[in-house]
Symmetry: none
């Protein structure tokens, strides 16, 4: 089994200013490819310590994967240090230089000449173009060892890893690893794990439960010589999971609930509209993360105040006075209101207390969701059980999206 | 200056199943105490590799701080390995044993005898009681070096660090580190770095540029005997940065642009309303991330389709027909429309092409932002220069928030 060590570079990491999400992402991706990650380390923007870290990593791992320190400033030294350690010369790459000049030109800003150091690449190495930023990545091979450089910004790093580095590494590994992720909503991780307990004992496929932002997931992974063989190993486990978890599953290998919703709306040629109070645009923002959402998203109204709930959504003054903004009655009228305004087949409305403070003497985490579709209007009450504003808003948006998904299944 | 190395222990970290938030937390806390963290590493539950990691850390740092691997199961080996490396004998600690038995009794659960291994502590070492769980922490000193063991669960770790380890470490250190972060918008990282280049050479204070999601930041850090002395060292550098970067700075030590916006609106008792097309709720979602936003956020209208732009915002049919939805004219009418509907003093509207595909034959990344305030309506055109939908939406929302921030400054 090939081994890989991840080295995260950046003084801002060592100061704790940012949390390193790149290393866990790469750990997961490499594990799924059958590459063992036995060490991870973090060093600051210091040439001596970085050199030591790279040399140590090379002494015990086949592949050393570094993130960060490829930028234009003087403290970006990852490429220079690694080239020196691996004995590669850095040369100006014309294609990268041109791309960089074009990038600045589009933005109508002058390009500082210092920026060009990003266009230096290791002579005789492999260059990974950066489709989402200016600094290219690279790979340098020597004596059966390999050093790979990736940019630090997560969006650039992930895209480059997926599109360029993964295929490059795949050629170095034997056999394939295939993985499917079952996504559920409405069931806790430990409850789910107990129900599928016998499956968790297996070694090929492995079935691993995990929790992510209020959702419980199961990852089913098999290794085999070919993808078809791996799929054949996985199929019976997936069937069993489907029969055990049935109604809780909203998708397999779907990115998230908003992708499941947009896909469902597109398939059935339906439209959705949103009326949001405590989530205040989070639901519409998530729906429209999905490319193609413009064909299914009618409109969204963010009505924080009672005044706007009356004016834009037609919620009755008496309803707000009698039951308050955070109530089933208000959620129902908000949903009916935005359905009427938009003409969408399905409308969802949310009102609740995101925190940190309570409002209307109602507890933090209390939420009412209204759904209006061809079966009429219904509401769901739930409590997130937490005081964390961001968590409460995210989970509320997820729950609302899940109710839209369930409504779609009835069309 | 005392140096400390953080070693995070756990195979689940190396697999990427969980993100390590302990290490950044400890990094921040240690930096604030004036303790330099120059290395961080992560190892799995493997005795040989853990021993190597601890020995390496001891060879280059004064203090080695480990988190995780203190639990009751067979793969929890941190204490055993560290005691061996430091030459300490482990003995059963009666107080910990009694606390453990009491803990299980309260919960009405039988205690597995294997659990008692958590009550073993290094003879001659320092024991840190765990007020939030069963595994105690410990410190072992030898030859001027020190190994500190902390539990892995973040709530247990943070409480033990704050209440027990911090006072223990404070006795070993002199001086403090103070850091301020200058946040800018509208200037690139390399451009900013060039303008403040002479400041980047200093060692106390240090000035370090970095980029984060389309923004350029500068961190100014000083160490001194007292916080007041550190502030006095920082002040002239901050003054110089202010005079060089002036208009680009939207805040110092403010969390992000949405916090700056909400703070500004609260101070001047103003309200904002949003009309969003391509960002589709991202702006309102970000404004309302800030607790207290309900006092300043009037309403938000997400109008993806031309139809909804006409119906909800009063954009004229002729405007859309003549210039298209992605145009300065439409952005201006959207802003004016939502200002009228909401009654807010400041209104911002966004229309653009988020990608991946182009629309109306306009390029991906092209955005028009309209601002309506007491000075009338004006528009800004810009191109993000990228094809990444999520990036384009985030940066567009940031730019729109920055325009709102600039408008607030004129009140």
């Amino acid at each position: 089994m090939i081994s890989c060590e991840i080295v995260s570079v950046g003084t801002e990491l060592l100061l704790g200013d940012i949390v390193d999400t790149n290393a866990p992402y790469l750990s997961r991706e490499l594990a799924a490819m059958g590459i063992a990650v036995l060490h991870r380390s973090t060093v600051g923007d210091n040439a001596g310590r970085l050199r030591d870290a790279v040399e140590l990593a090379l002494s015990r791992s086949d592949i050393v994967l570094l993130t960060g320190g490829l930028g234009p400033t003087a403290d970006d030294i990852t490429k220079e240090v690694c080239a020196q350690v691996m004995g590669f010369e850095l040369v100006r790459d014309e294609e990268s230089e041109n791309a960089m000049r074009a990038f600045f030109k589009t933005r109508g800003r002058p390009m500082p000449e210092s920026n060009l150091k990003q266009a230096d690449v290791p002579l005789g190495g492999i260059v990974f173009r950066n489709d989402h930023g200016t600094a290219p990545g690279a790979a340098m091979e020597r004596d059966g060892k390999c050093v790979i450089l990736l940019p630090g910004p997560p969006n650039e790093m992930r895209a480059m890893f997926t599109d360029k580095v993964k295929p490059y590494l795949a050629a170095k590994t034997t056999g394939v690893i295939v993985s499917h992720t079952v996504r559920t909503m409405g069931i806790g991780e430990s409850d789910m794990a107990e129900r599928v307990a016998p499956l968790l004992e297996g070694s090929n496929p492995t079935v691993a439960p995990y929790a992510k932002q209020g959702e419980a997931l199961l990852r089913v992974t098999a290794h085999a010589d070919t993808a078809a063989q791996a799929e054949a190993i996985i199929a019976p486990a997936l069937d069993e999971i489907r029969s055990i978890l049935g109604g809780y599953i909203y998708g397999i290998d779907v990115a998230d609930i908003q992708h499941a919703v947009v896909q469902g709306l597109l398939e059935k040629k339906l439209h959705v509209a949103t009326a949001e109070s405590c989530t205040a645009g989070y639901i519409s923002k998530r729906i429209t993360e999905v490319a193609g959402a413009s064909d299914v998203f009618a409109c969204g109204l963010v009505t924080y105040s009672n005044d706007m709930k009356e004016k834009l959504l037609g919620v009755r003054h008496e309803t707000l006075a009698a039951h308050g903004a955070v109530s089933a009655e208000t959620a129902a009228e908000m949903a009916a209101g935005v359905k009427r305004v938009s003409g969408a087949e399905i409308a969802v409305a949310v009102t609740g207390v995101a925190g940190p403070g309570c409002s209307e003497n109602k507890p933090v985490g209390l939420v009412y969701i209204g759904i209006a579709d061809r079966d009429g209007v219904r509401t769901v009450r739930f409590e997130t059980g937490r005081k964390d504003r961001e968590f409460n808003r995210y989970v509320t948006a997820s729950r609302a999206l899940h109710l839209v998904w369930q409504s779609i299944q009835n069309y």
